[in-house]
């Protein structure tokens, strides 16, 4: 049988971001795939070295378009760790609140992309329609739909007002029902299952060997969630479940993410309820003492790790960003081998790629 090499990307309707992906086909079956990154490499790590700690907050917000808040949170945690700064409890709670709202936003967006890629436009529209509620809430709280610019070293910039808490509660209650509805559809729809069951399989052992994190790992039975394992911020004060599945296929990833969305809504409700009073930010010194700090947090896609090295000046000596997409990308050629061309779209959507994150 003749072989055909199909270029997927850097520009292709399957991918919303530039990633080059050469798939060798034999008939309809995928034999091999070659990845190439770097189309949106912006040199953020290098750029960070020449900018002050404060300017870098805005820079790291732009690592990713979807999980922008978690990046600034992780970065600020690292700098606060270097400074030895105690962040006021209320500030941390507002930070966590936005992290969880962002998780809801990211997972709903992902569900939409998956549904679109397997040709179920209706769920795509519904998921994005429901996502709009979260976006509006985030805009209400921070002033921006995507780049919230609410984090600052030492806390957050904007406080929550009583009126906003009311709006949050209403929105979250509404959203909870909608997510339940989406879960019902994904759980029961036969054509959805027919297109997502049994493809892109990763075993628990493979997840461990490939160092995969986040929902992809949890869908294969790996119990990794930094919010539970090494609680950062004040996650240890809140109760939530780590959702895991054992199937390890695209459908399991969808289920994990939707369950996580409802968990995140529950978390948000708890945070609003428990919201402590007091200051929202501590004042920072501009000079950061020399030292190194590793800050980890659980982004919607998994573990984000920031390594910040300070040499005692106004700008960091080195910032290393590792985003969760990079771990998922390594497994893609393995997941795709032997699949049909039609399944490529479902698998690629299933791991939730963010190329801008991976390239930095």
């Amino acid at each position: 049988m003749s072989r055909l090499t199909i270029p997927i990307g850097p520009q292709h309707p399957l991918l919303k971001e530039p990633l080059s992906f050469n798939i060798t086909l034999e008939g309809e079956n995928v034999i091999d795939s070659v990845l190439r990154l770097g189309y949106v490499h912006r040199g953020i790590e290098k750029l960070a070295e020449s900018r002050s700690y404060i300017q870098n907050i805005t820079l790291f917000e732009r690592v990713c378009g979807i999980c922008s808040h978690i990046h600034t949170t992780t970065y600020c945690q690292a700098v606060e760790g270097l400074l030895g700064l105690e962040v006021p409890r209320r500030g941390v709670y507002i930070r966590m609140l936005l992290c969880e709202l962002e998780r809801i936003h990211s997972h709903l967006l992902w569900l939409g992309v998956l549904a679109k890629n397997i040709g179920l436009n209706t769920v795509f529209m519904y998921a994005w329609r429901d996502r709009e509620i979260v976006l509006d809430l985030m805009e209400e709280i921070s002033g921006g739909r995507v780049s919230h610019a609410i984090n600052t070293i030492g806390g957050v910039r904007k406080d929550l007002s009583q009126e906003q808490i009311q709006k949050l509660n209403n929105g979250l209650t509404d959203l909870f029902d909608r997510v339940k509805d989406l879960l019902r559809i994904v759980e029961n729809d036969r054509s959805f299952k027919a297109r997502t069951r049994g493809i892109g399989f990763l075993s628990e052992e493979e997840v461990q060997r490939f160092c995969v994190v986040g929902p992809v790992a949890r869908a294969s039975g790996g119990r990794v969630d930094l919010r539970k394992d090494t609680p950062y911020a004040h996650y240890d004060e809140l109760s939530f479940n780590v959702v895991t599945m054992n199937e390890g296929d695209v459908w399991a990833r969808a289920m994990v993410r939707i369950h996580e969305t409802s968990e995140a809504i529950r978390l948000c409700e708890q945070m609003v309820e428990k919201l402590p009073s007091g200051e929202i930010a501590a004042t920072m010194k501009r000079k950061v003492p020399a030292g190194e700090f590793i800050s980890r947090s659980e982004a919607p896609r998994g573990e984000v790790i920031y390594f910040v090295k300070s040499d005692g000046s106004q700008s960091p000596a080195r910032v290393k960003v590792r985003t969760p997409t990079l771990t998922a990308l390594i497994t893609l050629p393995k997941q795709l081998r032997g699949l049909q061309m039609a399944d490529v779209s479902a698998v690629v959507a299933g791991v939730d790629l963010c190329i801008a994150c991976a390239d930095r």
Partner: protein, 128 residues
Amino acid sequence: MKKILNKIHSFFPLLPNIFSAFFSKPETENYPFEKTHIPERYRGRVSIREENCVGCSLCVLDCPASALEIEKESKTQYRLLHYRDRCTYCGQCEQSCRFDAIYMDNDYIKPADNKQDFFAVLVDRKGS
């Protein structure tokens, strides 16, 4: 009858959703013809309360996009400029200002087609 309906429902879980969507108002905002809701904290145009500004240039120092520039002749004689095309509307200037002078108002800024519109003089105390 109810059994049959349940059966159909479990086979095609999307059916009730599409009918309820069909008979309810569309979710799309018909933007140019409908006004969108702009929240209170929307980061719009960078504006200034001129009387509060003392020319400390903290905002210029912290601006991550170098969108703010200050032309200083002496302590009281300076010009604060804002380049809107460089601005990322992050609100850092508002955060950095200790005198409650620079702030972002709620106005949505329309795109401009000439260069002059990208350039705003926030404070002009030159020669005064």
